[in-house]
Symmetry: C2
Subunit: 389 residues, 2 copies
Amino acid sequence: MPDSIPANSVGIVTPQTLTFDEPLELACGRTLSSFELVVETYGTLNSSASNAVLICHALSGNHHAAGYHSDDDRKPGWWDHYIGPGKPIDTDRFFVVSLNNIGGCHGSTGPRSINPESGTFWGRHFPPLRARDWVHSQARLADRLGIHQWAAIIGGSLGAMTAMRWSLEYPERVRHCVVIASAMKLSAQNIAFNEIARRAILSDPEFHGGDYLEKNTSPRNGLALARMIGHVTYLSDELMGDKFGRELRTGSFQRGLDTPIEFQVGSYLSYQGESFSGNFDAHTYLLMTKVLDYFDLAREYDHDPVAAFRQAACKYLVVSFSSDWRFSPARSREIVDALVGANRDVVYAEIQSTLGHDAFLLPNPRYEGLFRAYMNNVAFEAEQLERAD
Amino acid sequence: MPDSIPANSVGIVTPQTLTFDEPLELACGRTLSSFELVVETYGTLNSSASNAVLICHALSGNHHAAGYHSDDDRKPGWWDHYIGPGKPIDTDRFFVVSLNNIGGCHGSTGPRSINPESGTFWGRHFPPLRARDWVHSQARLADRLGIHQWAAIIGGSLGAMTAMRWSLEYPERVRHCVVIASAMKLSAQNIAFNEIARRAILSDPEFHGGDYLEKNTSPRNGLALARMIGHVTYLSDELMGDKFGRELRTGSFQRGLDTPIEFQVGSYLSYQGESFSGNFDAHTYLLMTKVLDYFDLAREYDHDPVAAFRQAACKYLVVSFSSDWRFSPARSREIVDALVGANRDVVYAEIQSTLGHDAFLLPNPRYEGLFRAYMNNVAFEAEQLERAD
């Protein structure tokens, strides 16, 4: 808990649940007859609705991107460093919308919701999703909020994939697309880590063939393992070396074959896995990693990313981090090449960082400066549109 | 099964079990009152015993490094490509000794053996080992075989760590040390993957707190997960991309949340994990990964690798592979720097390869050529010693 809420925080925020009593047709062919989205907003929508920014969360994210839910909150939202008054995503100038995606486990319709047809948990029967399903549900949200065109859609990792898909699905509804630490599709190695993570969940006896909610339990161990596997890939070797090195928890080797975790790095990962598994739903994890694995920006464009980006009308900011081996700079350069090939405006920056994939969430002067400068231009444009309105 | 055994194979080999009815004091302070080693040898020891080569296996290896156990064998030993008549480790010139290390699960004394004191399986009570324990047991083996000085001690990965330790523990007993795809100590990232792998084993309900052998079962799922995690890190992103890409097993997305493995890369890893877990012991896996994690070449030399290598008297060949991110070329260059600092003779080669850490086991013309040339010099030296004897 901060002693007092910092001046450059959006302060106390209250999530809202919006109900959409209208069918949402999904890419898999199935339809949600209605759905709910849990949403937070920061800042004020101007009269021409030209200053709206959409935040797309990544694998394990949710709607709580900035501020605090109460004075007792220990930590602010997941992207608080970048969203707030005077911050790169400046809430004095932008109206920022952040939501939990459908399929999530933080209040939006997902596997933990009740399936209206069966009256029981959706669980493993929840429809498999693709990023475009999120885009379509977010377009309904924009309609509801009176936002015809987003000043910017911003995301990191899976969130950036969603943002890119937005720019192809609704070209006229996006002015800027900010693509941070992402890729047009995962590599085989990325998929391999996700397959192992899913196997850890599916093979946990507490998964009960997917019926764990009915049994009032959770495959916590499998989920913790899945998160630990993921977490290692979000960090760089260098960062882990700096942070933990080869330090032992107890200062000396225990060395028994069945002694638990002995190294600090294992202890840290274990803690991350445990705390994650207490707050996250296993089916949501399966679903989100599958969206990630399936995502292939150019699949429907004859596997030609240039043809894909020819559909877009917005400008792009693409950012990568030097030590990110999960979504390496090479993947971002492929995006940039395709955007240039499609004659789209693009700014690209490769940020030096030892923080791995997680760098997109963390402080970094150059990243922050660039992000601020770009968003300042976006805000200026939004203010011009407001005046012209 | 090969249609016929190739001419450049060592042919049919028969492992031998050697019993050492003498105590072996271990680094942990405990003592094995006696121990057995399962050994294979290829080629003939010359009269001066100057042509003996010791092969040290890696994490999941064993004594069966070359040749076939029967005409029905589907595959030869794990390093058959490099050991045989006319091969880099030329069995027409060398007497090659390959053993299963203590703590292993292929016949040498280990967690699956009976503890003579309790009359039951060693299991989780088997003493934790360090690489030097293997060195000391291998020195007893050398004594038994009448080998005072090895022409070369050769290993990849953990095997190379053992070889390096040999060169410090018994400087006068090693002429050449061949260190392939190794490191003086693991990085925090390496350790992290091992901690997760061990957690997968320990948290499998079939582990039964370590008493799975008594219950006539095995934590096969945890062991399979552990192996899958390890296996990804032995391959390069590029290799997995070339081999599996984003191919699906069924050709089309299943996409249900609880559908099993969907991508070819997951299917491959799963197969590797399953087949490994059917043949390997969980305690041995815990033990071997711990030896790997604890290994720190210079710990007892005030963390000064130059001081460590000043103990050595042999010459070194150090080899790394460009796409090996588990034991990267940077780690091998640290070994070379320390050897140069200690004024030791060293040849270093960084081999271009897309095969990741596994490259040390696989065909590669430059690796093979260099290895052959180096070992030719070692053989020539051995033959000179034989003539001088």
